[in-house]
Amino acid sequence: MTLERSDRLRVLVRLLFIQASLHRKGMQNIGVMHALDAVAPKIAPDPLALLARHAGHFNTNPNAAPIVIGGVLRIEEDGLAVSPAPVSRFEQVACSALAAMGDVLTVGALKPLALTLAVASAIYSSFTGLVAIVVLYNGALLAGRAWGLAFGYARGWGVVEAFTGARVQRVVMLARVLAALAGGALLAVLARRAFAEGLHDLAVIVIATAGAWLAMKRGWNVARLAIVLFPVVVIVAMLVK
């Protein structure tokens, strides 16, 4: 292997900002070229040609991008002549295989898990809890990205089959289960707080939850609905009191 740990670290640091130059036409392509640029002279005789090969459309979950880029580094380093298909094909296949997995794992499980725990910590004014959540979440994310880059670099084309297996699905499912447990815990915390204020408050929150559920089901923007609701609720309360 030509690339040393310090080289991969430079790629990883640049990949942390892959979203910085996100745009509609090429999505993350500028971020990808910037990350590859960190090691381009080491893995290709013509670094400019290497960058040009990756100037096309690139779109995946930012947390899954290091896996794809690790694979790209391996393929570029081994030489395109021994690659079973063009490197652009690898990017296409790996990006789509990993985008869904990355979205479900981070946006659908890890982030809601962290945020529900953060809200519960904030309700109980647990600053230690809030700090611990930030540290753990970012530790997990950074470790995952570092592992992903090393894994992609070790496997090359093998990345694609590694992330379509049942084991990955089990990890995603476990994260979703943890997020559901945390979500349930937060629901109980909010319900208990409303109950402590009185049955009247509990009734308000139950009715409001049912209303918000229905609004979401119809695809309405509930945050905007809440803005409109403010003067209505305040005027009703002023009339009642």
Binding site: Q19, K25, P62, R145, A180, G183, G184, V204, V222, A237
Partner: protein, 230 residues
């Protein structure tokens, strides 16, 4: 004035993290409120505002055909307006000030998203026209400049948006706390409960499949049992 600049600067940095960096979660309202509260010396009240805003934007799937609100701007403006208004009117009812702060946060987030749509279009056009130069050193320099410039653009946009919206939000919150009476304070508490309910509905919807709902129920029962035993 120095507070305003510092708050806008924090919003700019958090925006870079949220939309250009690796999303550390610090841009989420519950954490941005903690930072703003620590800066303005009223963490507990800022957190109350942050929690409600977080629950309002907890939605795990975005609503169809809608633009995502600018939660960084909303979180920062909401928490800062609450803290600054309470500092300006110490005798005001805290619940009313928090509710108005949350309202300002929600409005600022929508306004921020609206402004960003226009400004982001310019950035999108600039990035869409990106061409690699003919020499490698020039290409390397251009890539670095584009990434850094684009990230700074995101930060600068939110810095300016907060700088413009925060004074309005503080004035509106102070006005509400000075002119609305006891009945309005009760209404504000009801409204805060309604906004929190959005978060509850989001969680229930996200995990309402037959397989997931049992874990949702298990989490709720576990907390209820622990509370009952204590």
């Amino acid at each position: 004035m120095p507070d305003l600049l510092l708050i806008a600067l924090i919003a700019g940095v958090l925006a870079i993290d949220d939309r250009a960096g690796w999303q550390t979660l610090l841009g989420e309202p519950v954490f941005s409120a903690l930072i703003i509260g620590a800066l303005l010396g009223n963490v507990l009240v800022a957190l109350q505002c942050g929690v409600v805003l977080q629950l309002a934007w907890l939605s795990i799937g975005a609503a169809r055909g809608t633009r995502r609100p600018n939660t960084v701007v909303g979180g920062v403006v909401g928490a800062a307006a609450t803290c600054l208004a309470l500092a300006a009117t110490p005798d005001a009812r805290a619940s009313l000030v928090v509710a108005t702060g949350v309202l300002m946060g929600l409005v600022a987030a929508e306004a921020g998203a609206f402004v960003w749509r226009g400004v982001g279009e310019l950035r999108d056009r600039w990035l869409g026209d990106f061409q690699l130069p003919a020499s490698y050193p020039a290409a390397s320099r251009k890539l670095a400049a584009t990434v850094v410039g684009s990230a700074l653009f995101v930060g600068l946009a939110d810095f300016v948006i907060v700088l413009l919206l925060l004074p309005l939000a503080v004035s509106a919150t102070v006005f509400a706390s000075e002119h609305l009476g006891k009945g309005a304070a009760v209404g504000a508490v009801w409204w805060l409960a309604c906004v929190s309910a959005i978060g509850m509905a989001s969680i229930m919807r996200a995990f309402s499949t037959r397989w997931m709902v049992r874990f949702l129920a298990a989490g709720a029962v576990a907390v209820a049992l622990i509370g009952w035993l204590r």
